[in-house]
Amino acid sequence: MFEPPYTRTRAANERLRAHECDACGWVSFPEQPQFCKRCGVDASWSETRLQPRGTVRSYVVQQRLPEEFETPLPLAVMDMPQEESGEPARVYGLFTETDPADIEIGMEAEGVFRRVFDVAGLPIHSFKFTRPRGDRL
């Protein structure tokens, strides 16, 4: 792995910066696109920020992974709403500090800032998800 891709996605990883297509309202995260993935237009884009929470649309619990990953590792497809109005972004969300049995489709999860992995000794920070505080089963 090399450092540059993570320099380019730093604002997304660390500040949940996203981009909204001015033509169709689709939200891109973490990539900063030029052509819209949904409407295909060579669009103009408005910078936006996602809320540090989202809704689980589906999930799995991974049991077999390389050593550097904790297992069991729940992974979800999440819809993360924007801070202002508009559509949510559909993204992958890793879970942490959550009992896999407590995850269900439709639940809200809270984004927490974590060290995700290292690249050549350089720590890469981003969000993971947990069941929100005060919502323990």
Binding site: M1, F2, P5, T9, W26, S28, P30, E31, K37, R38, R57, S58, Y59, V60, V61, Q62, Q63, R64, L65, P66, E68, F69, P72, L73, L75, A76, V77, E87, R90, V91, Y92, L94, P100, I105, V116, F117, V119, S126
Partner: protein, 390 residues
């Protein structure tokens, strides 16, 4: 379409799939090519081949470019093109050859696919170590497909047992299929009690890691009589890509790319899903085959569980699916997978599929491959339809 050349399949060859540490990719390709030449009814020699398409994702880093096919087969002084399209590589290579023949640019085209999965596939299989945005966080192949299983069960009430039945069916077929990697049978309890890989998928929901090679010969209507009196015709082909990031909820319970590719292929063939008599579809995981029934239009969206319950896709059912055992039993050497699927449909339509022959006298057969790529967010799907009638 009248100005286009009709395209026929006249030969199919493959090696026994498996864990083949004793064979190089060159060994596998040469053997599959020889088996394919030998399969042509009236014979064919390497000198008859005008152009070749080579499907491989080159996972073991030893076969990039068309030269990876030329060296082991001796096919030089002609166009040889390597095709890579994720797990849809083999069927994309077939499609590319068909398009060239259909356009009148090639009379005799070889399609060959091969993959050395066992030499160094760990990076792809685990997916988690790759230096890309999402995969770097542990998104694996079982996760990508398993996400559809969790959602399908929630949204449509599909049961774990229905999903497991796909594995039972395909292992039942694979046990009878001479080239399959795994030739054992299992029941629903064996599947749900096998070790959990990624909830909700267990070990027997996952295809094995398999080496293999396969080859197919396609020719134009102008020369078909030189090679056989019993050709199988290419009726239609489709290819499409999509990504769940685009926000379509259908992509959480299936693969819109498959629906799009199938739509193209049905239109070109002038048929509907109801006309398909036998199919080889991409069952890298059990859930993949279940949602593919729906995406191909074999049943309504959400009815994949009921479709397997009905027995229709069983070998003695109305529309046998994966008579060869599919990827789950036969194996999934990526570049070879789609080519071997085409071969099986060719054998089925000729009535020469031996112990796994569909007994419904198949007229139309469909082959389907799906791959994932682009940080494990996108899918690429290829569908080819063969027909007994021109």
């Amino acid at each position: 379409m009248s100005s286009e050349t009709d395209v026929a399949v006249v030969g199919a060859g493959m090696i026994d799939f498996g864990e083949l540490f004793e064979q190089s990719i060159d060994d596998m390709l040469a053997a599959a090519f020889r088996d394919c030449l030998d399969d042509v009814d009236k014979g064919m020699s390497p000198a008859d081949v005008d152009a070749a398409w080579f499907g491989t994702i080159d996972i073991a880093d030893n076969a990039s470019s068309g030269l990876g096919l030329s060296h082991p087969t001796g096919l030089f002084e002609m166009p040889v093109t390597r095709v890579e399209n994720a797990c849809a590589t083999g069927s994309s290579a077939f499609r590319s050859a068909v398009e060239s023949v259909r356009a009148g640019n090639t009379d005799v085209a070889l399609v060959a696919g091969a993959e050395k999965m066992r030499d160094s596939a760990a990076g792809l299989i685990e997916g988690a170590a790759l230096d890309q945005v999402w995969r770097g966080r542990g998104v694996t192949m079982p996760a990508f497909f398993g996400l559809r299983a969790t959602r399908h069960m929630e949204e449509y009430g599909t049961t774990r047992e229905q999903i497991a039945k796909i594995s039972v069916k395909n292992h039942e077929n694979g046990a009878k299929y001479p080239h399959a990697h795994y030739r054992f049978t299992c029941d629903v309890d064996d599947v749900v009690d096998s070790p959990q890989v990624t909830y909700p998928l267990n070990l027997y929901d996952c295809c094995p890691v398999t080496d293999g090679a396969a080859a197919t010969l396609v020719v134009s209507e102008d020369v078909v009589d030189e090679f056989t009196d019993d050709p199988i015709w290419v009726a239609g082909s489709g290819l499409s890509v999509d990504s769940f990031e685009r926000g379509n909820d259908e992509s959480l319970v299936g693969f819109p790319a498959t629906e799009q590719a199938a739509g193209q292929a049905y239109e070109q063939a002038g048929i509907t899903a109801d006309d398909i008599d036998v199919a080889e579809v991409h069952d890298c995981f059990t859930i993949t085959e279940l949602v593919t029934y729906e995406d191909l239009g074999f049943c309504e969206k959400g009815d994949g569980g009921a479709f397997i319950d009905s027995g229709e896709p069983l070998l003695d059912g109305e529309t046998p699916v994966n008579p060869s055992g599919g990827l789950l039993a036969k194996g999934h050497p990526i570049g070879a997978t789609g080519v071997a699927q085409v071969n099986e449909i060719y054998e089925q339509l000729r009535g020469k599929a031996g112990a796994v022959q569909a007994d419904n006298d198949p007229e139309y057969g469909l082959q389907h491959n799906i791959g994932i790529g682009r940080n494990a967010t996108g899918s690429v799907s290829c569908v080819n339809i063969l027909s007994r009638q021109r």
